[in-house]
Amino acid sequence: MGRRNSRGSRTPIPSVCEVFVKNPEINIRGLTRRFAQATAVDHIDLTVCEGDIFGLLGANGAGKTTVIKMLTTLLGPSAGSATVAGFDIVSQAHEVRRRIGYVPQMLSADGALTGYENLLLSARLYGVAEQRTRIEEALAFMGLSEYAGRLVKTYSGGMVRRLEIAQSMLHRPAVLFLDEPTIGLDPVARRAVWVHLKELNKDYHITILLTTHDMEEADNLCNDVAVMHTGQIAAHGSPEALKARVGKQATLEDVFTRFSGELEETGRLRDTAETRSSARHRG
């Protein structure tokens, strides 16, 4: 890729990270994932810069979760490549895992353990030094110190989500992946999660990649977004730039509708069921 300058030689087009003098934290090239006959992710190219909060938007079944699964090394790509924090997701999967945090769509903290015990398990699996200090710091950061000794099954949905974010930040990851982090949460809990994610990004310099259907969330949190549709990137840019592309006074909702297929019924039954189940779990 490149454009010709006045002398006729090829000049590479600078990446978005180069323009803003940032390092690329996630670099995706031609990433593809096929399941039998279906192509869930179809040759996508994306760059997420260090320190960004990046939103991957799209309807159910657009391929967002499959992208996250590949970037977090849970699923191997069928074609293409990607690096996370400078390491290849296939050949250097272990190095990638050491540098990322992950919050899945479902409320995955163990309800039969206390908040502290959930964090202790993560600290042990990540080999965190000074576990007690780190755990207490993470609990305080997420406003959960006074609930640390309570069983997680007694927590509200918002508290569980905050606990999971605390779990994912214990080892100071370079990149944090969140799959639909606020789905099913009430507005107060949702805003509390937003505040904590912003603080995490700012105070700990953690690059965040999240998937969402919620345009208010994307508008509020993300400085860069991409809209996925049927496994491809339909649009990519800052929320302001995408709104400007759609029209004057356009909202991110309009952007989403324009690029993700307004009148199509999208989403596999399994994706919809998982989303509803997540919402139910959070009360």
């Binding site: 699964k69 977090t72 090394t73 849970l74 699923l75 272990h94 895992r97 050491r98 990322i100 992950y102 899945p104 769509q105 479902m106 409320l107 995955s108 163990d110 039969a112 353990l113 015990e117 398990l121 993560s122 042990r124 699996l125 990540y126 080999g127 779990q167």
Partner: protein, 256 residues
């Protein structure tokens, strides 16, 4: 190696905490062996149709019932793993840098906690029924080793099936289909010599037979192991290594 040990113990510790906090499963699992020993065992011991050694039929079947308890508690372990997958817990574990061997081995160790409790329950019931239990320390430690290997084998087997079938409904069906044939095609409640030839061949390929045989040589006075403790342990260690390797390979597929 130290890292694998630390991670394995972290997983096992979590399971132990949960079991101590809610021992309902342990209590309910104690009922079945009680019925087998108190009702089935006592009635069949009056028949005297099967030559089962000096300890009588009750003494003969006590190690078999312990092996059965180990099998039944471990074989449904896969359900818990599918449940963890549905909650996203497996996803979160697999995203950590922890070794896959540790994640799976931790589960195998935690299956042992249930096995150890079952052992204590069956020792208690058998003593109350005047079964001549061997209380020597070496014998009890040998029993615990066999129980640990048996629990770990069937937990790994169960986990592997869970990774293939992936849903609780399918797993329940397969679990039911597997447990009874494994139990009846073993030497748990009748000796190998009275089996028809084809069943004896199946029984010699069944790991439960070696669990029962190992226990039989160590648990009750007057009963003997057919293959010997060394052979039983070797077969069980080899079987465990095979099932562990399969489970480690299949575990990441649970989230795909």
């Amino acid at each position: 190696m130290q890292r694998i040990l630390r991670e394995t113990l972290a997983i096992a510790d979590v399971e132990l905490r949960k079991l101590v906090r809610d021992p309902t499963e342990l209590v309910s699992r104690a009922i079945q062996p009680m019925l087998w020993l108190v009702i089935f065992g006592q009635v069949l011991s009056r028949v005297r149709g099967i030559d089962t050694g000096k300890a009588g039929y009750l003494g003969f079947m006590t190690p078999g019932i312990l092996a059965q308890s180990v099998l039944f508690s471990a074989i449904f372990y896969g359900i818990a793993v599918i449940w963890e997958r549905d909650l996203g817990i497996v996803h979160k574990l697999l995203v950590t840098p922890a070794s896959r061997v540790s994640l799976v081995l931790g589960k195998a160790i935690s299956a042992n906690f249930r096995g150890i409790v079952q052992t204590a329950v069956i020792y208690g019931i058998a003593s109350a029924l005047h079964v001549p239990i061997r209380w020597e320390l070496a014998a009890v430690l040998g029993v615990l080793l066999i129980v640990a290997l048996g629990s770990a084998i069937f937990a790994m087997f169960s986990l592997s099936i869970a990774c293939i079938v992936k849903t609780r409904e399918r797993f329940m069906g397969i679990g039911q289909v597997l447990t009874m044939p494994l139990f009846f095609a073993s030497n748990a409640i009748y000796p190998l010599d009275i089996m028809p030839r084809w069943l004896r061949i199946v029984a010699t390929l069944n790991p439960l037979t070696y669990v029962v045989d190992g226990l039989r040589g160590l648990m009750v006075h007057g009963e003997q192991s057919l293959y010997g403790f060394g052979t039983d342990c070797t077969v069980l260690c080899f079987t465990f290594a095979v099932f562990l390797a399969i489970a480690v390979k299949l575990y990441p597929q649970l989230v795909r």
